[in-house]
């Protein structure tokens, strides 16, 4: 046995070169080379041109809207997603399985369809809009609509990251806390919440990252007024439509850098989460 192990079971299986080679080739062709085209295109711009493209007032307004609305939507998702995950894991009620399956709807429903149906609901003549409009509340065709669409899009992330962690938390810890005289709220805030916090933060970051890049659902409901309800991805599209390829690329690079930063942040969060669950068990 020892002899077998020392030769290393590593390369006993065939296909390492083939599968890794193919994976790297495919990854390069589909993802890496096209993405590098974006970077090289930016180098054709001089620094002042680049700065001009990514910091004009209209573009700045779109960053504010995109990041602001994404932050609000991800925060709402963190709170309500935790609530939904909690209810799905801890309680039993009629129709629970259906609700559990429905949570994934925003992943399965094409974003354009989501955008149109949310607009139909919230517009002045829609099922919800018609009750709100007399009171002067407008949820479609302004930044409110952007936030609502982004809440829809990000809904599953927090639920699906928190749910498995909540399932795995040990009841014994809660029993111990109760035996030691903790109230239910103390048990939640000091025992349960710290255990699920990394997952909650990961879900929040994922919902935020998705919201920043979202396009399909938002453009239908936003109204797309320059300076008011125009998101950054739409800026890229409208620059493209005016054949301003360099300008579109510059804004896209800014978005790409944001995505990279978030991806690294999420990876770090998950490493933290793994260390914590590893330390617990």
């Amino acid at each position: 046995m020892i002899v077998l192990r020392s030769t290393g079971g590593r390369r006993v299986l065939p296909g390492f070169g083939l599968t890794l080679g193919f994976s790297l080739l495919y990854l390069s062709l589909i993802v890496l080379i096209p993405l590098s085209a974006l970077v090289f295109k930016t180098f054709t711009l001089t620094w002042p041109q680049f700065w001009e493209a990514v910091s004009s007032p209209r573009v700045l307004a779109s960053y504010r809207l995109t990041f602001g609305a994404s932050l609000i939507a991800a925060s709402v998702n963190a709170v309500l997603g935790l609530l939904v995950a909690w209810v799905l894991v801890r309680y039993s009620f009629f129709g629970k399985k259906v609700v559990d399956a429905l949570v994934d709807l925003p992943f399965a429903l094409p974003t354009a369809v989501a955008g149109i149906s949310l607009t139909a609901l919230l517009a002045g003549n829609g099922w919800i809009g018609q009750w709100l409009e007399p009171h002067g509340i407008q949820l479609a065709f302004n930044p409110n609509g952007v936030v609502i669409a982004l809440i829809f899009i990000g809904l599953p992330f927090v639920v699906r990251t928190v749910q498995p962690v909540l399932e795995d938390t040990e009841k014994e810890l809660e029993e111990a806390a109760t035996c030691l005289g903790a109230t239910r709220w103390q048990t939640f805030s000091r025992v349960i919440f710290p255990a699920i916090a990394p997952a909650l933060l990961t879900g929040f970051a994922m919902a935020f990252a998705r919201a920043i890049g979202e396009y399909g659902s938002v453009i239908f409901i936003a109204g797309n007024m320059p300076m008011v309800s125009e998101i950054t991805p739409l800026i890229i599209i409208s620059k493209l439509e005016q054949y301003d390829y360099a300008g579109a690329t510059a804004v896209a690079v800014v978005m790409l850098l944001m995505s990279f930063a978030l991806l690294l942040f999420i990876n770090a969060l998950q490493a933290w989460q793994r260390r914590r669950t590893g330390a617990l068990s």
Partner: protein, 306 residues
Amino acid sequence: MSGATALQARVSRVQAGTTEPAWVRWVLITLALSFIGLFLVLPLAAVFTEALRKGFDAYWQAFQEPDAWAAIRLTLLTALVAVPLNLVFGVAAAWAIAKFDFPGKAFLITMVDLPFSVSPVVAGLIYVLLFGAQGWLGPWLQAHDVKIIFAVPGIVLATVFVTFPFIARELIPLMQAQGADEEQAAQVLGASGWQTFWKVTLPNIRWGLLYGVILCNARAMGEFGAVSVVSGHIRGQTNTMPLHVEILYNEYQSVASMLALLALVTLVIKSIVEWRHARELAASAEVPPERPSTSTASDSVWGAPA
């Protein structure tokens, strides 16, 4: 006797201490269900109501329209190319990553996730920069009369990009958890590489694989942003179903309802796969299971950059 009842009282108090009072439970359930109802059920209901507003006849008529047909065909074609490509990649990448150790593995996993965190609009843009009239390869393509942007190949490429990680993402953790022991046993017993894959690995990963394919397919058929950038919106030629929905924005939305129906079918199949997978795990777990059996399939999040 009195000691026993006192003990019982304490046990029930501890049990009560690990859940909430009934009224809190009901308030929380009601809040969660209202949120789900308002944000998920109502929009879904609105899609179907809008589509059927003018009755079934008008609904069917909208499908008879040649442009709608062309959109449906193009969407099916796109998914038919994109899903198998990413399936082959997913299996190959998961095999290399899960069964072998090599430097830079963690970095490779991050790169696989990259398309998830890139905005769909940026995904479309990069192909325009490569293959568009003013792009790197644009002049060469024009000279050879090959059209990629504003044509079907561009749509397929953009779709492949946005659905790139789905199957790999599903298989990598699954195959990592399973390890390489069974495959090594098969090798020792004289199986060839292909035999090992088809008879040992594939049966072990089939539910995860199916799960990934469902997610990949749903996204491939529903992608809007990336496809919108590269399509050129030529009616009857380069409009997929989601783009057709956009054009008909203010008309009755038969195609939208069809896509919504597709989403529901996806959810149903996904639930069945999860349920079958959980049952199989429970059945095979003669040794006490380490964790609740459903978690393998539902652990991962669609589109999750993990």
